[in-house]
Symmetry: C2
Subunit: 350 residues, 2 copies
């Protein structure tokens, strides 16, 4: 077995403490990754607090973390894609059935048998519990690990494995590129990645935010325009002018004003999960043949494409690095949106 | 001027009576169509009753009708596409600005200056009132008339100009074809066209209806499967199996159960306008990267493509022909869904 030092909560809340456990032996197709950084995703917080108990109840002890980057420390006998010393990443899942149409199509996140989630799940044996990246290592089949080509400091790479792919996938699916006007709703962990990626894809990018204070940040992230949404008068002149809008907001809000900003054939993609359903007027979609769509992370091939794109365009997440003893504090600040724009835990710190 | 005999309501309601009026002289680019059949679209009823007074108030006297087919009786000096005796159709609009990006892109229904609607609108001069197809002729610019290649009886062609294009356009936009599973929600005027078109495109088609009585009809229209939606247990085994769903229902209903039927990357298009907004759960879209979209009729090029497709595949609407004195009765029966599947008025009847 592989000895692992992690940080876990043992009951609903944010009371993290050191937790030693064992991962499986490194098998012929596995690699052992010594984790350097693990990002804090808002879903870690929901899971730690058992706030999704109806749909995804938490199994304690819980070691969260699905934005993982580190170095390969050991490779199995049949491994071909990685060698010791390579930089590798892990995202939201670590295995899947490999046989269903979605797995074969590179959309393992929608595996018919349900993918093995990186934490608070099980391996595909449906018995062995998974523990996440708030730990010093992970053993994973090489086919579910990602290659990281980014040079230099890795701390900003970790959040790409969730926040990065969550925003990259819909931008790619709707073929965002030069000559297009793209809106990003919300400037948080997801939104700030959306801006960087859409700008790198060549689009003219507008940030929509309720907070006027974020304008300078938006511009420094590369956004071409910034619109404060609390005053509807700011939106009126933009009606019908956008090709694509990515809505990253998880708080309840009305999507119809944003649908109104789309031009004919325009699309809006939601990646946040507000607690209430959206009241969507059919006329908001019918006039202009408009589309409202959703997007869930991405499969392994697209996640690799995203990491390669980010390496090529020097894109990383803006992060604040903490030591593992400050996880609860980081959770509190994340809930208050008091982070620019993602916390990552330095898993090499004692 | 061109003398026209029509049928109008003079106040909110269905009290139609003969109404003589004048259309413009046939100009160099115009054709005069002697109307043979005009379909009764549910929107005619809303408009006659002034039920859309907030968004599209009715200007009386109102001559409805935007599902028009007839024969060319006169052509202007510069007309090139039509000759006297040709069969021609008119849909929901009769002109547009011709200069905006949407017009240039063949999506005149979304003209920046607003298209000239076939009735209850104005010509592009924004002064001359338009009267619809419940009349014995129409004068229209040849570029906004459609060529009809269907041989034989024309009565089933009229509804193609609205019900046909309304269902054809989204099926085409989402590339419905062989090997795909397609659902049609609702079996009325729109739904019965959706079935015929989707079957002709090669898809495996399922009708979803609240009415078990419609099963035999559904099968005779070419549907491969029929599902009664009043029992949720009928939908459960179909989860995740559809590529595309066309929702033609205008009554309030929950779209989430249908979104649940879509597979990964699947799309559902709404063409009806319920009075209440849809409560769409973001998770219904996020899990499976699903799309909810809307669609409004179609532009001139696509409407022509639809008519050609229908001629090639021998597709017409199933209709019940009435004389103009029975319009009020037909309205009542249309409201009660007591029609298979569209009323058309024989405008050659005295």
């Amino acid at each position: 077995m592989t000895e692992t030092k992690g940080y876990a909560v043992h009951e609903a809340g944010t009371d993290f403490s050191p937790f030693n456990f064992e991962r499986r032996e490194v098998g012929p197709h596995d690699i052992l990754i010594d984790i350097e950084y693990a990002g804090i995703c808002h879903s870690d917080i929901h899971q730690a607090k058992d706030e999704w108990k109806d749909s995804m109840p938490t199994s304690y002890p819980l070691v969260p973390g699905h934005e993982i980057v580190g170095r390969v420390a050991k490779v199995g006998s049949d491994v071909t894609k990685f060698k010791v010393g390579d930089i590798a990443g892990i995202g939201c899942f670590v295995d899947s059935c490999r046989e269903c149409p979605n797995c074969k199509n590179g959309q393992e996140q929608f595996c018919f048998k349900q993918a093995a989630f990186t934490y608070n799940g099980t391996e595909m044996d449906r018995v062995t519990k998974t523990y996440g990246g708030y730990s010093n290592n992970y053993v994973i089949d090489e086919n579910y690990a990602l290659k990281v080509k980014t040079e230099g400091d890795l701390k900003g790479v970790a959040p790409l494995l969730c926040a990065g792919i969550t925003t990259f996938s819909p931008l790619r699916r709707f073929k965002v590129g030069p000559g297009q006007k793209v809106g990003i709703v919300g400037l948080g962990g997801l939104g700030h990645m959306g801006v960087k990626l859409a700008v790198a894809m060549g689009a003219e990018v507008t940030i929509f935010s309720t907070s006027p204070k974020k304008e300078a940040d938006a511009k420094s992230l590369g956004a071409h325009h910034f619109v404060v949404t609390s005053d509807p008068a700011n939106l009126a002149p933009l009606a019908g002018t956008f090709n694509f809008i990515l809505d990253t907001v998880s708080a309840d809000h009305d999507v119809n004003p944003y649908l109104n900003l789309l031009g004919v054939g325009g699309a809006m993609v939601v990646v946040g999960v507000p607690s209430s359903p959206n009241a969507v007027h059919n006329l908001s979609l019918i006039f202009g043949n408009k589309t409202l769509s959703g997007s869930l992370i991405g499969g392994i091939p697209e996640t690799q494409e995203m990491l390669d794109f980010c390496a090529e365009h020097n894109i990383t997440s803006d992060v604040e690095v903490i030591t593992p003893d400050r996880i609860a504090e980081a959770y509190d600040r994340t809930i208050k949106s008091d982070v620019r724009y993602r916390f990552v835990i330095d898993m090499t710190a004692e």
